[in-house]
Structure formats: structure tokens, C-alpha cells
């Protein structure tokens, strides 16, 4: 069963089509890099896949189901532009909160586990507003992975990450992919993304200009896809 599928997706802002007849899919274990220029529709598409907004036409399916269904949401992890954790709570409180929201059997234990895996166990009781940028981002990553999602949706995850956070994220993503989880990430940071990607999709003004496997050539020359498929 396809992990993530977009079928004939259109998205309108008023009468203006931000997404036009988008067809793409990702199988379990795949890492799909969604690339394209600013305004191409990457974030719009990703947010529809994540269930934050609805397609005007067409549909998105995650393991065959609507993204808004409760069971589907349980299996999806999201990292957007913001870190989506609460400044006034501690790292541990934040993760425990999300553990409980996701109905984990032992929220506290899962929270501690993921604090360790992202190198934050020593600041577990510190308030997030006192964290450095890199620490905040690692906590965001912990929050997204906490409930062992089968599908990870990441919106430009490598932007504004420090080196340590990039290393943590890449390690966790590789482990997740090895476990058969699916990753869809939109990105400008071609090099980091193409290292992990198994598939690439290029969006141009709301349309899919290219969708296929990542080739060694792409990894060697990140601009290759743009050069060959992106219209001016």
C-alpha cells in the first residue's frame, strides 16, 4: 500500500490555482525530496498532505486514508517552519504532553528516550524559552519522532539548523528509513536532502515538472534537476 499519494490535487486561493493537478506518491521506506523554487507550492502541498488544509480538488491519501482521520494522524509526524513546542514548558513537559496527546503507553518514558536520542537529556527540565536555537530545533525533531510515526513530513527541515542539529536529524532520518518509514521533505538545501533521498519531485508553479528516482547524477550535481526540468 502506497504510504503517501496525491491524486489530482488542486489548491485554490480564491480563483488562483496554487497547485495544479498534482500527482505523486511515495512508497513505504522511500524518502521523497520535494524541490522547487519559492512559491512553487511545496509548502502548500506538504500542508495538504499533513492535513492542515484541504485540497480544492482531488485528494491526498496516507496509507489509503484521509489525512484528517484520527488513526492516520497518529501515524504522521510533522516538522514545519516553527518548532511547535511551548516556550513556557520544559523540554520534558513538552514531550510528555505530546506523548499523552498521541496516546503513548508510557509518555514519560518515551519522552526521556527521545531526549536522550537528540542529546537533550541534560536540559530536560529547562524551559524551552531559555534554549539555544540548535537545542530548540533538536527538541522539535524529538517531538516529531516521539510517537514513532510511519510517515514523516518535513517542511524545509535543514534551513536554519546548526551543524549539530543537522547531524542529529540526518542520523534519525536514516534510521527511520532503514526501519521502513516514509519521509517526504520539501527543501532548498539540495545537498543534504539529496544525500538521503530515494526519489525526487520538482514542483514548478504548482505543477509537477519531474517525479522519479534519485540518480547518482543528481546527488553529484544537485542543480541537475533544475537545469533539465525547471521552466524559466
Amino acid at each position: 500500500m502506497t504510504a503517501v499519494a496525491a491524486e489530482g490535487v488542486w489548491k485554490f486561493y480564491g480563483d488562483y490555482p496554487a497547485l495544479r493537478d498534482v500527482e505523486l506518491h511515495a512508497e513505504p521506506g522511500a524518502c521523497l525530496a520535494l524541490i522547487g523554487r519559492n512559491g512553487a507550492g511545496k509548502t502548500t502541498l506538504l500542508r495538504i498532505i499533513g492535513g492542515f488544509s484541504k485540497a480544492g480538488r482531488g485528494q491526498v491519501r496516507i496509507f489509503g486514508n484521509d489525512p484528517r482521520e484520527t488513526e492516520t494522524r497518529r501515524r504522521v509526524g510533522w516538522i514545519g517552519h516553527g518548532i511547535s513546542v511551548y516556550d513556557e514548558l520544559s523540554a520534558l513537559e513538552n514531550l510528555s504532553l505530546f506523548g499523552r496527546l498521541y496516546n503513548l503507553p508510557d509518555p514519560h518514558k518515551s519522552a526521556m528516550e527521545w531526549l536522550e536520542r537528540t542529546g537533550l537529556e541534560r536540559v530536560k527540565d529547562g524551559l524551552v524559552r531559555e534554549f539555544s536555537r540548535g537545542m530548540r530545533q533538536r527538541l522539535a525533531v524529538a517531538r516529531a519522532f516521539l510517537h514513532q510515526p510511519s510517515v514523516l513530513l518535513l517542511d524545509e527541515p535543514f534551513t536554519a539548523l546548526d551543524d549539530r542539529a543537522i547531524a542529529v536529524l540526518q542520523r534519525l532520518l536514516r534510521e527511520a528509513l532503514a526501519e521502513g518509514r516514509t519521509v517526504v521533505m520539501s527543501t532548498h538545501q539540495l545537498r543534504e536532502a539529496l544525500e538521503l533521498a530515494t526519489h525526487v519531485a520538482l514542483l514548478n508553479r504548482g505543477k509537477v515538472a519531474f517525479h522519479g528516482e534519485r540518480t547518482p547524477q543528481m546527488a553529484a550535481d544537485p542543480g541537475w534537476v533544475y537545469a533539465h526540468y525547471d521552466e524559466a
Binding site: 485554490f12 486561493y13 480564491g14 480563483d15 488562483y16 512559491g39 484541504k54 480544492g56 508553479r205
Partner: protein
């Protein structure tokens, strides 16, 4: 096609209004206790009824938008709400003028006037809310939900204020008092005329709204290129 509808309905409304104005000023006699000013009721009451019809109508179209996500219903909602708001304002102003002549005061916090004012504030809020949201789809969704809340509040507002104050004269047309058939006919015809006028104005406003949407999307195209 719609042009013809607008003109057609407009002409019928104009004819009815002309007939009514003639009747109101030339034919019908002065009312027993109020004298000349009572004639304002031929506009005051139908304006309120028209406004209420507009509110009910937009409640339905707002719900329809939420169900179908078709922006056409959003356009109708805003057009009819604006027109309804104008008629409600007319109701408030005519009521105030009447009160000044009969009671000597421009305003009084009686049940009907207060309810009308509060309802006016509610739906004015709808228009203000729309102005604060730029993106058309979000604007349509948020204002549709607001419209549903506002409409649910209207009967509660009317009820509560009615229990609270009563200085308004008893209803002329439904109060059980007897009324001259000629006056009743004129009032009903005026109601029809005002409703037709509301439809015409809504259609005109709707067309403007659709053009605005088209311009919006062209602008976005231009920015994207």
C-alpha cells in the same frame, strides 16, 4: 442573462415603489392619532422584514459554502449581508425619525430599536471580519462560521431585549388592532418592492464581488510570473 434579470426586477420594483408612493402621499388619509408621520411605517416595517430575510438567506448560503466550498456561495453571503445591513440601517433611521416626531426623542432603548441596533452591530462585525482576512478561501470559511454564530444569536438577542424593555407601540400589523385594507395592501406591496430592490442590489454587489475575485487571481498570476 443576469443583466436582464437585474433590469427587469429593477423596473418592477420601481413601478411598485412609484405606485406606493402615490398611494401613501396622495390617496391614504392621515392616521387618527399620529397624523402625517405614520406614513413612514410603510418603509420602516418592510425594511426590517427585508433585513431579516437577508439574514436568514445568508445563514443558508454560509452553511452551503461550508458544505460545498464553492466560492459562489461566499459571494452571495457577503452581497446579501451588505444589502441587509443597509436595510436594517434604514429601519433604524426611520424608527429614530418617527420617534423624534412622536415622542420628542431621537433614540430610546426600547426592545425593538435595541434589538435592531445589536443585530446591526453583529452583522457589521461580519463585514469587519472579512476586511481583516486577505486570503479568499480563509476569509470565506471564517466569515461563514461567524455568520452562523451571528444568526444563532439573533433570536436570542431579540428575545432577551424584549423581556427587558418595552416602550415600542404595539405592532400595527400583527397586534390584533384593526387596519384599513388599503393601508395593508400598500404595506404589503411596499414589502414586495423592497424585497425586489434588495435582490437587485444584491445581484449588483455580487457581480462586483466576482469581478474582484477575478482581479485578485489575476494579480496572483502576475506576481507568480
Amino acid at each position: 442573462m443576469r443583466e436582464k434579470l437585474i433590469y427587469g426586477l429593477g423596473i418592477i420594483a420601481a413601478i411598485l415603489l412609484a405606485r406606493d408612493l402615490y398611494s401613501i402621499f396622495m390617496v391614504l388619509p392621515d392616521e387618527a392619532s399620529q397624523g402625517m408621520i405614520y406614513r413612514i411605517i410603510f418603509f420602516h416595517v418592510p425594511a426590517a422584514i427585508t433585513a431579516m430575510l437577508c439574514a436568514s438567506f445568508t445563514f443558508v448560503t454560509s452553511a452551503l459554502y461550508l458544505v460545498t466550498k464553492n466560492l459562489k456561495f461566499d459571494g452571495i453571503s457577503v452581497a446579501v449581508t451588505e444589502v441587509g445591513l443597509a436595510f436594517l440601517a434604514a429601519n433604524l433611521v426611520t424608527g429614530s425619525i418617527w420617534g423624534r416626531i412622536i415622542w420628542g426623542i431621537w433614540w430610546t432603548w426600547d426592545a425593538r430599536l435595541t434589538s435592531a441596533l445589536v443585530c446591526w452591530l453583529l452583522y457589521a462585525g461580519y463585514l469587519m471580519l472579512r476586511r481583516a482576512i486577505e486570503e479568499p478561501t480563509a476569509r470565506a470559511r471564517i466569515s461563514a462560521v461567524f455568520n452562523i454564530f451571528a444568526f444563532a444569536d439573533v433570536p436570542i438577542v431579540i428575545f432577551s431585549i424584549k423581556w427587558w424593555r418595552t416602550q415600542h407601540p404595539q405592532p400595527v400589523f400583527w397586534g390584533g388592532g384593526s387596519i384599513d385594507p388599503a393601508m395593508y395592501l400598500t404595506a404589503v406591496l411596499n414589502l414586495v418592492a423592497l424585497i425586489l430592490l434588495a435582490v437587485v442590489l444584491s445581484l449588483i454587489r455580487l457581480r462586483q464581488e466576482e469581478m474582484q475575485r477575478e482581479i485578485d487571481s489575476l494579480r496572483r498570476y502576475a506576481h507568480a510570473v
